[in-house]
Each structure stands twice: as structure tokens, then as C-alpha cells.
């Protein structure tokens, strides 16, 4: 007997919420970035689950997941570089203190 699709979806939603909570609540910018990674992976779980249960013969679901990985990796690379750069200049990684881009 196979695990039903809804379980995967529930798991994915939970993972997304964990990530979202992390993004919204943590002060450290690196932790926020980690939250985003969790959210992206929740999406990936969704993509794979739907592929497997709805159209296993169609490879687009897997391919899409791979693209998300690649995008997430590069995003982390850019995000970390920005954070390091900000840290060097302002000596902080707290997101609330990095508020130069306002009106």
C-alpha cells in the first residue's frame, strides 16, 4: 500500500510553515536565508509528489525540481555574499538594522 498523496502535501505545508516562521521571526539574516531554503524545499516536495502521483510518465516535474535546486543554490550564494558584504561595512547581520532602503 502506497503512502497517500495528502500526506506528502501535509508534510510539505508543515515544512513550508516552519520555513516561513523562520523567515519572519529570526533576527539573523543568515537564519532568514535558511528559512527560505526550507520553503523552497517544501515546494520541491510538492512538485515531486504531484509528479509521482499524477503524471509519472511526464518528466517535467523532476526537471522542474532540479531547476529549483539550482536557483536555490545560486540564491544562497548571492545572499550570503551580500550578507558578508553588509557585515564588513556595518558590522551586523541583524535584519532589522539593515534598513537603508526606505523612503
Amino acid at each position: 500500500m502506497m503512502v497517500p498523496l495528502s500526506w506528502y502535501l501535509i508534510f510539505s505545508a508543515a515544512l513550508f510553515c516552519v520555513g516561513l516562521f523562520g523567515v519572519l521571526s529570526r533576527k539573523n539574516a543568515v537564519a532568514i536565508l535558511m528559512g527560505i531554503e526550507l520553503m523552497l524545499n517544501a515546494v520541491n516536495v510538492n512538485l515531486i509528489a504531484f509528479w509521482r502521483y499524477r503524471s509519472p510518465s511526464f518528466i517535467a516535474g523532476q526537471a522542474f525540481a532540479i531547476i529549483v535546486f539550482a536557483v536555490a543554490a545560486s540564491e544562497v550564494a548571492v545572499g550570503l555574499a551580500l550578507i558578508i558584504s553588509i557585515y564588513r561595512r556595518r558590522n551586523t547581520v541583524v535584519a532589522d538594522e539593515i534598513d537603508m532602503m526606505k523612503f
Partner: protein, 726 residues
């Protein structure tokens, strides 16, 4: 060189001199006058050769010197121009050549050649004299040389070209060209001292007044051409053409004239302008503003004579249909009236003029009237004869008056007096100061008055009177006889006031004889003023049998019907003698005792008549009222203010105003509220919106996230609740 080539070349030396002076020798005064006088001398020489050649030709009038070339192609025929020398041309050429040459020579002295430059002379003004130191170191003033010396010679050379062209032409077209060249030169030379406002005004007046005549004359030429298809004398004065012209009626049966009559009157009006006949006489007295040689040449001897020459030339046309002794043609009647009236009219004005040159100017008008009147009564030869003699003695008188004025100016410079050197009442006693001028002036004056037997003027005037008498034109005869009396009177007045008695001013006391370049022409013209009359002594004069009247035979043969010389009769002869001597004696009696500062002895007894005469019958004022002021009014008030500024400018301004108000409407009701308002609304709206909502731009990334989450949830719930509707 054949005689035809010589005739063709005759007008060109002066034209060449004009070109050379204007272009090259302008700065060199001596070279300029040498060129001009040399050119005049060449043309004079040519004229004399033509004259002698013509005398040697047997039956010259039937074999005139003729040469013509095709000039202008018109449709399938040619308009030809050429030269034509018949007895009338030869006679005219004779006096033209002599007077032009003499006046050229005279101009050298008149414009003070050889004198120093003036202290403060300006171009366009008469020379004011120069200060020189004599051998004792004593400063005194002498006449100074004319600043525009070369220019004067250039202009008179051009003038001479015009006159020669006119005389030798074989057609009315080149005659008209010469006529207009002279008109231009007259304008330029009257206004020679152009910095003087009076000279400018006189130049414009002369030009415009003669223009009136010229335009009408051109009309006559055009009408003649349209009728005959030719302008050359040979064609238009041929019997067939003349007969044809007399039978055709003028367009619209104008005044019941025949074509010949209308053309004749139109051509004659040209003469009225050029020869200063009433009512277009007003320009000639004012033309005396020019230098005296100009007055002598243009306004006495040649240009005004050209008008008479033209009507003499056109006499076959004017008299077409007339038989000797019969009733006059309309054109002749008009000429007889205008000529007679002008003769008397101008002579009366001359009585009351004090300016020595103005007297001569009116005298010229009067004498030209004599010639016109003579032509009017059919005295063709007498008119031509008087034309010749008048040219000599009037040129002589003008040059003499120039010499007098020159002497007076010398006195004025010497004494520094403030007197008018041209006013005869400032002169007196000049006969001892200027003997040569005196004697030659007396010769000229006596010739003008017609002193019997010895002077040229007597013979020509007597012939006119005799013709008028013989053909029983009593009014013409009596008027002309009266005019002769007046002529003698004002001539004697002039001679007496100028030369007789004692000097009435210091200037007259210090007057001096002019230089030889001025007196030499006076002597030559003096000789001619007497001897020119001898050629016209009637053959049966005084019951003697003299050799036939050469002039009459010679010039009279020009006409196809050879006019018979009138038989000598005692009555007109005695009339001539009586009026001539009577006028002279009266003039002497009235004017011999004029004292210093005295007024004219005629002023009291004549009263208002004298004032009228002095003011020239108020013709200037009348024309001013009738023509000049209306012309100014039309130009200024009507054309400028009403038509131009009122209607044309008004229309444009109206268009502008309408366009302006339409623009205003568009601006105030369309552009500003609608287009600007819309643009402003967008801009302002965006600005307000941005100002209000910029507070959410906190710069905190987690707040953005939260907001995005809230919006996403909001959208989701909205979608689920309102759109999907489970």
C-alpha cells in the same frame, strides 16, 4: 568716310566723353573738360562738314542725306532706325553745334577753372570762394573752383549726345529717345547743386512737368504707329499716309477729330511740356536754379528748341488737309492759340521779375510761343528761322547774364556784402566794369527786341508778323505785335538796370570782367546773333530786288508743297519797327533813374497788376492747390493712411486679431482645462498617492515579507470565498 557714316558718328563723341569722364577721368578736372570740349569740337566739326556738303548738293531737299538700318524685328517686318539730314536738319544742326560748343567752352570759365579750391566748399553746393594772400600778405577772397567740376562736364556731354541724336534721327522713336535723354540731363543739371533744397525742388518739378507732356506725346507716337505701322519720316509724312490719316476718324470720334488731328495734338502736347508753353510752362523759370551754362544750353538754346523742332518736323502731319490761306486744321488752331497766348502771357510776367535769369526764362517761354504761334498760322519757314536766331541770341543773353552774375559774385566776395548777385536792382553801372559783356549783351538784347535791319531777331520776328498779317490772322498779329513791344520793354529794363546809371551796391562797384573762356563765346555768339538774320532777308525787301531769301528757299523746300514767300508789305514792317523802338525807348525812360534801394517804378502805378505779374499770375500757387497738394493728399492721407494703413493693414490686423482671439479661446477653454488638467491630474495624483503610501517602505525586509503574506492570504481568501464558491 562717306557723309552717311559721318552723320551716324555725329552724336557719339559726346557720349564717349561722358563715359570716359564718369569712369576714368573723374578726378582730373583739366582732363575732364578737355575731353568734353574736345568731343563738342569734334561734333561741331562734323556738323560743319555736313553743313557745307549739304550746301553743295543741288536741290538738296529732294536728295537728303539718308541712311537707315533694320533695328527691331516686329512680326514679319522691321522697325528701322536711321539718320536723315534735310535742309531743316541742317539749319538746326548749325545752331545746335555752335551753341553747344560755345557753351562747353563757357562752362570752363563759369566753373572757375584755374581758381583755388574753396575754403569750405561742399559737393552739391555753389562754390563759396577761397581766401588767398596777395604779394603784400593781405588776405582777400576770390571765386573758388566748382567741387563737382568733372561731373558737370559729363552731364552736359551726355546732354549733347541726346540733342544730336534727336536732330539727326529719321524717325520719331529715336527722336523720342534723344528727347528723354535730354529730359534726364535737364533733371540732373537743374539739380546739379543738389544740396540746395530749392534746386532739388526745381529739378523734380521740371522732370514731372515735362513728363506730363512726354507721356501724351508717347501716346501720339503709339497711335501714329498703330495707324501707319511706321515711324520714319519718309513714310509717315508721305502724301498717301497723310491722306489716309486725314480720312480716318479718331477712336470714338473723339471731339470730331481725324486721326491726323488727334496725333498732331498729342504730339504737340509733348512740345507744350518740353518747350514750356502754357499751361506746362511752370518748370522753366524754376529751372534757373541750375548753373547758368545749363540755363543757356538746355533751357534756352537746345532742349526747349527741340520741342519746337519736333513740331516743325511734324508740320506736314499737323497741317494735313490744310491749304495755304485756308482755314486752320484743329492741331494748328490749338497751336496758334497756345503759342499766341503763351507769348503774351510770359512777356507780361517778365516785366515784373527782378532776377536777371528769370526775366530771360520768361522771355524764352514767350519767344517759343512766337514760334508755336507761327507754326499755328502755317508760317513754317518763319518758325524755323526764329528757332535758329532765337537759339543764338538767347544763348548769348543767358551766357551774358551768367557773366554778369559771375562779375557780381566777384564783387560780393570782395566786399563781403549780403546782396543777391542775381537781382538786377543790386546792379547798375556795369557797362564800364564789364565792357565785353555789356556790348555782347546789348547785341543779344537788341536782337531779342528786334531792332530793325541789323539784328537777326528782327528778320525772324518780322517774318512771323508778316505771315500772320498776310493770312489775316488779326488776333495773332495784334497779340504778337503787343508782345514784341513788351519784349523790347523788358529787355531795355534789363539792360538799363544792369549796365546803365551808377552802381547801386558796393558789389556792383567791385564787379569785374569775366575770364576769356567766358567772353570768347559771348563774342562768337554776338556775331551769330546778328549775322544769322541776314540769310532770311526777304527778296523783295523795301522794294529792292535782293538775291532771293536763302533761308526761305533752303528750309522751305523741305515741305512737299513749297510754301510761297509772303510778299513784302509795309504794314507789318512798320509795326515791327514801331513796337521795337517804342519798347526800347519806353524801357529806357522808365528805368534810367532807378536809385539805390528803390523799388520798381512800375510797382506804384500798376498796383495789384504788378503784384499779380510778380507772382506769375499765381500759377505756381494754383498748381500747388490743384495738383501738388492733392497729390500729397492722395499719397499721404488716401494711399498711406486710408488705403495702406487703414484697409490693407487693417485687414491684416483684423485677421491677426481674429486669429488671436480664436487662439485665446482654445487656450482658455481647451488647452488649459482639458489637456493641461488631465496631465496635471495624473502627475499630481501619482505624487499624492506616493506621498501617502511611502510610509510602508520601511526598509525592513521581514515587514515586506509579512505584508506579502497578508496580501497573499487576503487574495487567497477572496478567491476562495467570492470566486470559487464551493
Amino acid at each position: 568716310m562717306t557723309i552717311a557714316t559721318l552723320i551716324w558718328l555725329l552724336p557719339f563723341p559726346p557720349l564717349l566723353a561722358f563715359g570716359l569722364i564718369v569712369l576714368f577721368t573723374n578726378r582730373n578736372k583739366a582732363l575732364s573738360h578737355t575731353l568734353a570740349v574736345g568731343a563738342a569740337l569734334l561734333s561741331w566739326l562734323g556738323s560743319m562738314i555736313i553743313f557745307w556738303q549739304a550746301l553743295r548738293v543741288h536741290n538738296f531737299s529732294q536728295n537728303p542725306f539718308v541712311s537707315s538700318i533694320n533695328w527691331l524685328p516686329i512680326l514679319n517686318q522691321w522697325l528701322s532706325i536711321g539718320v536723315w539730314v534735310d535742309p531743316l536738319t541742317v539749319a538746326t544742326l548749325f545752331f545746335v553745334a555752335w551753341t553747344i560748343l560755345m557753351i562747353f567752352i563757357y562752362s570752363v570759365g563759369y566753373h572757375n577753372f584755374g581758381q583755388p579750391k574753396g575754403d569750405h566748399d561742399q559737393a552739391g553746393l555753389q562754390p563759396h570762394g577761397a581766401t588767398v594772400n596777395n604779394e603784400y600778405g593781405h588776405a582777400h577772397k576770390v571765386p573758388s573752383i566748382e567741387p563737382l567740376y568733372s561731373r558737370f562736364f559729363a552731364f552736359i556731354a551726355l546732354f549733347a549726345f541726346g540733342m544730336y541724336t534727336l536732330v539727326i534721327s529719321d524717325n520719331l522713336l529715336t527722336l523720342f529717345v534723344g528727347w528723354e535723354i535730354m529730359g534726364l540731363c535737364s533733371y540732373l543739371l537743374i539739380g546739379f547743386w543738389y544740396a540746395k533744397p530749392s534746386a532739388r525742388a526745381a529739378a523734380i518739378k521740371a522732370f514731372l512737368t515735362t513728363r506730363v507732356g512726354d507721356v501724351v506725346m508717347l501716346l501720339g507716337i503709339v497711335y501714329l504707329y498703330s495707324q501707319t505701322g511706321s515711324l520714319s519720316y519718309r513714310t509717315i509724312f508721305s502724301k498717301e499716309i497723310l491722306h489716309q490719316l486725314t480720312t480716318v476718324t479718331a477712336p470714338g470720334n473723339f471731339l470730331g477729330l481725324s486721326a491726323a488731328g488727334l496725333i498732331g495734338i498729342l504730339l504737340f502736347i509733348g512740345t507744350v511740356g518740353k518747350s514750356a508753353q502754357w499751361p506746362l510752362h511752370v518748370w522753366l523759370p524754376d529751372a534757373m536754379e541750375g548753373p547758368t551754362p545749363v540755363s543757356a544750353m538746355i533751357h534756352a538754346a537746345t532742349m526747349v528748341s527741340a520741342g519746337v523742332y519736333m513740331v516743325i518736323r511734324a508740320f506736314p502731319l499737323l497741317s494735313a488737309g490744310w491749304v495755304e490761306g485756308g482755314s486752320l486744321t484743329p492741331a494748328m488752331a490749338v497751336m496758334a492759340f497756345i503759342g499766341t497766348f503763351t507769348a503774351l502771357f510770359a512777356a507780361t510776367i517778365a516785366l515784373a521779375q527782378n532776377d536777371i535769369k528769370r526775366v530771360l526764362a520768361f522771355s524764352t517761354i514767350s519767344q517759343l510761343g512766337f514760334m508755336i504761334a507761327a507754326l499755328g498760322v502755317g508760317a513754317y519757314v518763319a518758325a524755323a528761322f526764329h528757332l535758329v536766331t532765337h537759339a543764338f541770341f538767347k544763348a548769348l543773353l543767358f551766357l551774358g547774364s551768367g557773366s554778369i552774375i559771375h562779375g557780381m559774385e566777384h564783387g560780393v566776395l570782395h566786399t563781403n556784402e549780403e546782396v543777391d548777385p542775381q537781382n538786377m536792382f543790386n546792379m547798375g553801372g556795369l557797362r564800364t566794369k564789364m565792357p565785353l559783356t555789356f556790348w555782347t549783351f546789348v547785341i543779344g538784347g537788341f536782337s531779342l527786341s528786334g531792332v530793325p535791319l541789323i539784328t537777326a531777331g528782327f528778320w525772324s520776328k518780322d517774318e512771323i508778323l508778316a505771315e500772320a498779317f498776310t493770312y489775316k490772322h488779326w488776333i495773332v498779329f495784334i497779340t504778337l505785335a503787343l508782345t514784341t513791344l513788351l519784349t523790347a520793354f523788358y529787355t531795355m529794363r534789363q539792360i538799363t538796370l544792369t549796365f546803365m546809371g551808377k552802381p547801386r551796391t558796393e558789389s556792383a562797384h567791385h564787379a569785374q570782367e569775366s575770364s576769356w573762356t567766358m567772353t570768347f563765346p559771348l563774342i562768337i555768339l554776338g556775331v551769330l546773333a546778328i549775322s544769322a538774320g541776314w540769310v532770311g532777308i526777304p527778296s523783295d525787301f523795301w522794294g529792292l530786288t535782293l538775291p532771293h531769301s536763302w533761308f526761305h528757299e533752303f528750309v522751305g523746300s523741305t515741305l512737299m508743297e513749297h510754301p510761297a514767300a509772303v510778299a513784302f508789305s509795309w504794314f507789318p514792317f512798320l509795326t515791327s519797327v514801331v513796337v521795337s523802338f517804342g519798347g526800347l525807348i519806353l524801357g529806357w525812360l522808365v528805368y534810367r533813374n532807378v536809385q539805390e534801394g528803390a523799388v520798381d517804378p512800375l510797382q506804384k502805378p500798376l498796383g495789384w497788376i504788378y503784384t499779380t505779374l510778380k507772382n506769375k499770375y499765381y500759377f505756381d500757387e494754383l498748381y500747388n492747390l490743384l495738383f501738388v497738394r492733392p497729390a500729397y493728399w492722395i499719397a499721404d492721407t488716401f494711399t498711406n493712411q486710408w488705403l495702406d494703413r487703414g484697409i490693407i493693414d487693417g485687414f491684416l490686423h483684423g485677421v491677426a486679431r481674429v486669429a488671436f482671439s480664436i487662439g485665446g479661446i482654445f487656450r482658455n477653454y481647451v488647452d488649459k482645462p482639458v489637456i493641461n488638467g488631465f496631465g496635471d491630474f495624473i502627475g499630481e495624483g501619482v505624487k499624492k498617492f506616493g506621498r501617502r503610501f511611502r510610509v510602508i517602505q520601511t526598509g525592513r525586509v521581514q515587514q515586506y515579507m509579512l505584508m506579502a503574506l497578508i496580501v497573499a492570504f487576503g487574495t487567497l481568501f477572496y478567491y476562495l470565498i467570492f470566486v470559487v464558491r464551493p
